[in-house]
């Protein structure tokens, strides 16, 4: 596959912006400085990213979006049993978001989002990522492996439960060092099992079958 020249440029802008925003913060980093370090003209930078706000959001979310594109393949209801799919997905997401670099990015996003007016842009991106989880849950509801409910709400609840055990102490620096894979797998299992019970199909027969497989 041939990589387009403009894609290489775009990638270079994202990487430079990411480094500058992370070391200096949003306010102290200017489009002029990013341009100077990447090389080329300001017009080129603006042709890729119409504003500093959009560039900030894009470069902060790039790694997560990339990772999620790979890990969302776990969510294929036609090939894997829902519980297994959710466990693989949940553990994988937790491993990534609990990494030191991603925690640092999340702190920076939280510190800057409300002040810089980029909160809505971040929120839209996160919502788009979560939509793929909602779609999976909707498919499970349609096939009867979960009871019928609002799949978007269910996705938000599952996301919150997955993060519940570990994220806050890590974000607040109470805990140094990231959890290992055994620990994230355990947290994912507890969250997914509580979630599946909560959304188990209501017929007693289906419920028994669902619980028996656990």
């Amino acid at each position: 596959m041939q990589v387009k020249k403009s894609d290489i440029k775009r990638q270079a802008i994202l990487e430079t912006a990411y480094r500058l925003f992370r070391t200096q913060g949003f306010d102290k980093t200017s489009m002029a400085e990013i341009t100077a370090q990447v090389g080329g003209s300001k017009a080129t930078v603006y042709s890729h990213f119409p504003s500093k706000e959009e560039l900030f959001v894009e470069c902060m979310m790039a790694a997560l979006e990339n990772y999620m594109a790979g890990t969302l393949r776990h969510l294929d209801s036609s090939r894997t049993e829902p519980r297994i799919a959710l466990l693989n997905f949940g553990g994988s997401v937790l491993n990534f978001i609990c990494s030191p670099e991603q925690l640092e990015v999340r702190r920076l996003i939280i510190a800057e989002a409300a002040r810089s007016g980029t909160g809505k842009l971040f929120f839209d991106k996160i919502t788009a990522l979560r939509a793929q989880l909602s779609a999976f849950l909707a498919a499970c509801m349609a096939s009867g492996s979960l009871r019928r409910a609002d799949p978007e709400l269910a996705a938000e609840q599952l996301g919150a439960m997955l993060e519940a055990e570990m994220l806050e102490p890590l974000l607040l620096q109470v805990r140094e060092g990231s959890p290992d894979e055994r620990e994230t797998a355990r947290a994912a299992r507890r969250a997914v099992d509580a979630f599946l019970r909560a959304y188990a199909p209501s017929s007693p027969h289906a419920l028994r079958r669902e619980l028996a497989t656990h």
């Binding site: 702190r107 919150a160 507890r190 509580a194």
Partner: protein, 201 residues
């Protein structure tokens, strides 16, 4: 140096609270705070050795007490578990999503690399609440209202479900004031899904 008094301590906390809310933690200085209450800088430092310490105290005084009160009000003798959880959830989120608590939480996360404010807020606001809620849930498990599970994890799941519709929106500033009816709906949906997940069948 004069003996420390509680009245002076409270006056400092009040002035500091105003300054933090007005300019944020980072830009607030001990001099600004001293200017509001008068007296010398040495006196101020005698009461609070650092800005971090002062910040935490302000936060502790303003919100932690209310959060603990909400968690402490959970009555294990209550007949109706669902009603009790709804009542608690409402109280808990009303405190946690007040503008002051949101500001404090924002700061705790943003500042956690530079100071121990994150650690302090976790130890004084998060841990005691989780503990209280876990004690309550443990009794509900014993009484057979909830299925057998690690009460600490059950508490963490309950609290995260209560916040599930609000936390991201608030931290990103998409939602800057949370109306009571928004809280009501969020609590009802969270408690229902929590009970479906943990009620004994």
């Amino acid at each position: 140096m004069k003996a420390k008094t509680e009245a002076k301590r409270l006056a400092i906390l009040e002035a500091a609270g105003e300054v933090f809310r007005e300019v944020g933690f980072e830009r607030a200085s001990m001099s600004d705070i001293r200017a509001r209450i008068g007296g010398s800088k040495a006196t101020l430092y005698n009461y609070f050795p650092s800005k971090e310490k002062l910040f935490f105290e302000v936060m502790h005084q303003a919100k932690t007490h209310e959060l603990e009160e909400a968690a402490g009000s959970l009555n294990a003798e209550a007949e109706d578990l669902k009603q009790e959880l709804l009542r608690f959830g409402q109280k808990f989120l009303t405190v946690l999503y007040s503008p002051e608590a949101i500001a404090v939480r924002h700061l705790a996360i943003a500042e956690s690399r530079r100071s121990d404010s994150g650690k302090l807020s976790f130890e004084h606001a998060v841990v005691p609440v989780e503990k209280r809620v876990a004690e309550f849930l443990k009794k509900a498990i014993k009484r057979g209202q909830l299925r057998t599970a690690d009460a600490k994890i059950v508490a963490i799941h309950l609290l995260s479900l209560l916040e599930s519709e609000l936390l991201q929106r608030v931290l990103l500033g998409v939602l800057d004031s949370v109306k009571p009816e928004v809280i009501n709906g969020a609590v009802r949906r969270a408690v229902e899904v929590f009970l479906s997940g943990y009620q004994r069948r």
